[in-house]
């Protein structure tokens, strides 16, 4: 299945040619979970990758759906 990923913080810099306006399409196995997507993109846990879909933060074990618009950003603590 395919999901559309937008990368925030400095995550975008890790993918050469990444265009923030468009985001990028990522192909992952059907029924993949959040942690599978992060592993696929090589965003390590220590980097603090957080995934949100439709205004909700998802747990690592949450399943993603085909066509989902996924925002990935680094964990934040406050401003």
């Amino acid at each position: 299945m395919k999901v559309r990923v937008k990368l925030f913080g400095i995550l975008g810099q890790r993918f050469p040619g990444y265009h923030h306006e468009q985001g990028m399409e990522v192909e992952i196995p059907d029924g993949a979970r959040v942690k599978d997507l992060l592993a696929h993109l090589e965003i390590l846990k220590s980097f603090g990758g957080v995934v949100a879909v439709e205004g909700k933060l998802l747990a690592e074990d949450a399943r993603l759906e085909n066509g989902a618009e996924v925002n990935i950003f680094q964990s934040v603590f406050g401003g």
Binding site: G9, G12, G48, F73, Q74
Partner: protein, 572 residues
């Protein structure tokens, strides 16, 4: 270790040893404990009985990174509660270098008189008449003061809003480049400074009489380890240097928790236009600096220098909270307008948060349209001009709400909320409602708990405890001079251990990990005691009714924390 006591009515300055009961205290711990002990709780905040206390943190002026926070305390004219508001810049380090634990301003100068309080490099202090600076904006004023007293000076000052004693007036302070763009914004402390007849404090940065460090070698080691922890943390070492606090726009919108159009929506349409990513790009393209060192000793560089299309400096630093208050709340999605509003607020000397929320409330009440940037600029300019409307706006969101008899006024104890909607982050609902300071995100922001998924932001369970713990942690951090942003490195075991070692090496103590929160609890207890004696009760620890009644899209939740739960926040 000395106090400078300044009597504004007799114009006398006394240097005193720090009394036993205040030994070892600094920052918020010192200002709050002293206010509770010495300021009558029911006094008029703008009257002679109130005191204005300026205290660097206990580590300010040492070699530990990111320790140039200065706490300013008084009874607040905005909230009627005890108040500590802290700011970055360079003044805390300058006071630390002079071994000054606090400056305490008492009484008031006769009406119409205005003074500068100046401390030279030997620590000698005097009051100097400042009539010629009357009504001056903070930018022109700082320039003049640095010209007169030398570039190696730190300035704390008020603008026209503080002189008019408006209750959203800030105290501005200079950054490492001498611009008055850092603020102790919250709680109207600029009005207290104005009421004393004090226009500015100028401190020479070249002092060489810092307090001794008990174990300098151990301190050096610990400082090195702490700096490493700050650099290695993904938030303080990567995200903040690249995007600053504006990097919060994406995550908070992605969570549906960005209060928009006067807190009627949780996601701003088109928020990507005012995101941290977009900001860094605009600044870079125009030749500004997206990763600027705002404060002395800083290795994080969360600050930025926003420039206009011609590459000319407009403001520093365009921060998340201002982008939200002047952008998200008002529906203005254009950086140039938001930056102009930020600059205006800094120059006039008003809190960007309370002012932005006040503008949004006025728009929501139908006074102007949401998204009308020109109207917003004109409204804020009126504060500087001292018009009748300007005075109401400069008294903050609560005053504007009353003026329009509007039903949706997002304030607690008279102070505007911050850029996290309490309905989409239930823990921040607890902090806004119960903090002794009024609605204040820096008093205990729970957002980190949601990011780590330790807690569900939309459910009431666990929120009181999370808010309690962060409020205790922040009350401790605010005593040390450590910048809130760098303090997130304390969430790693390496960072926490290094920081504790630095504290022990500084004081020659054997504090354990529990002693730091114990300090926070002590400070909160004193603050709550002051508020109780000032007449505040549990009934004041509530959010405005609309937060319990109007569901916030996209989650369509209201605040779910019961009154009983709220009241258990400080069961310690």
């Amino acid at each position: 270790m000395k106090f400078l006591k300044v009597d504004m009515s007799t114009k006398s300055v006394n240097v005193e040893d720090v009394p036993q009961e205040y030994m070892g205290l600094g920052g918020r711990g010192l200002t709050s404990i002293m206010i509770n002990a010495e300021v009558p709780a029911t006094c008029d905040p703008l009257g002679p009985e109130n005191k204005l206390i300026v205290a660097p943190g206990v580590l300010s002026g040492t070699s530990l990174v990111n320790t140039s926070r200065v706490s300013i305390g008084a009874k607040s004219p905005l909230t009627g509660t005890i108040k500590e508001s802290n700011a970055g810049g360079t003044v805390a380090a300058a006071l630390g270098h002079l071994g000054i634990t606090a400056i305490i301003f008492e009484n008031q100068a006769p009406d119409g008189e205005l003074y500068i309080f100046r401390i030279d490099e030997n620590g000698d202090a005097s009051l100097i008449t400042a009539q010629e600076y009357k009504g001056m904006g903070t930018y022109a004023l700082s320039e003049k003061l640095l010209e007169t007293y030398g570039e190696k000076s730190s300035v704390l000052c008020i603008g026209p809003a503080g002189e008019q004693k408006l209750t959203a007036a800030s105290i501005q302070t200079t950054d490492v480049d001498g611009r008055p763009c850092r603020a102790a914004g919250r709680g109207g402390l600029g009005a207290v400074m104005g009421s004393k007849g004090l226009k500015a404090i100028v401190v020479d940065q070249r002092g060489k009489s810092a307090d001794a460090i008990a174990d300098p070698e151990a301190f050096k080691e610990a400082a090195k380890a702490f700096a490493k922890a700050v650099k290695e943390h993904p938030f303080t070492g990567q995200m903040l240097p690249a995007l600053g606090t504006a990097g919060m726009v994406a995550p908070v919108n992605s969570m549906g928790a960005f209060p928009t159009l006067n807190a009627t929506q949780g996601v701003m349409e088109g928020w990507e236009k005012i995101s941290g990513e977009a900001l860094a790009k605009v600044i870079q393209e125009r030749g500004g600096n997206p990763s600027h060192m705002g404060c002395a000793q800083c290795i994080v560089h969360c600050s930025n220098e926003f420039v206009d299309k011609a590459g000319k400096y407009v403001t520093s630093s365009l921060e998340y909270e201002t982008i939200w208050s002047m952008g998200g709340m008002t529906g203005i999605d254009d950086f140039d307008t938001i930056a102009q509003l930020d600059r205006l607020c800094d120059d006039i000397g008003v809190d960007t948060m309370d002012t932005g929320v006040a503008v949004a409330v006025a728009m929501d009440a139908g006074y102007k349209n949401f998204g009308d940037g020109e109207a917003a600029i004109e409204m804020v300019e009126e504060i500087g001009k001292g018009t009748e409307f300007g005075k109401i706006l400069g008294n903050g969101a609560a005053a504007i709400g009353k003026h329009f008899n509007h039903k949706r006024v997002p304030v607690v104890k008279g102070q505007a909320i911050a850029a996290y909607d309490p309905r989409a982050m239930q823990g921040n609902a607890v902090t806004y409602a119960t903090s002794p300071m009024g609605a204040d995100h820096t008093a205990g922001n729970v957002v980190g708990e949601y990011m780590s998924r330790a807690l569900d932001p939309l459910k009431p369970e666990g929120q009181v405890e999370a808010s309690r713990n962060t409020q205790i942690a922040m009350a401790s951090v605010d005593c040390t001079g450590l910048c809130l942003l760098a303090s997130f490195a304390l969430t790693t075991p390496e960072g926490a251990e290094a920081f504790l070692k630095a504290m022990n090496a500084k004081f020659g103590t054997q504090m354990g990990p529990d002693d730091i929160p114990a300090l926070g609890i002590r400070v909160l207890k004193e603050e709550l005691d002051f508020n109780r004696r000032a007449g505040f009760t549990a009934a004041d620890d509530r959010l405005p009714q609309f937060f319990y009644e109007e569901a916030l899209p996209p989650h369509n939740k209201v605040v779910l924390i019961s009154d009983e739960e709220m009241d258990s926040t400080f069961d310690f």
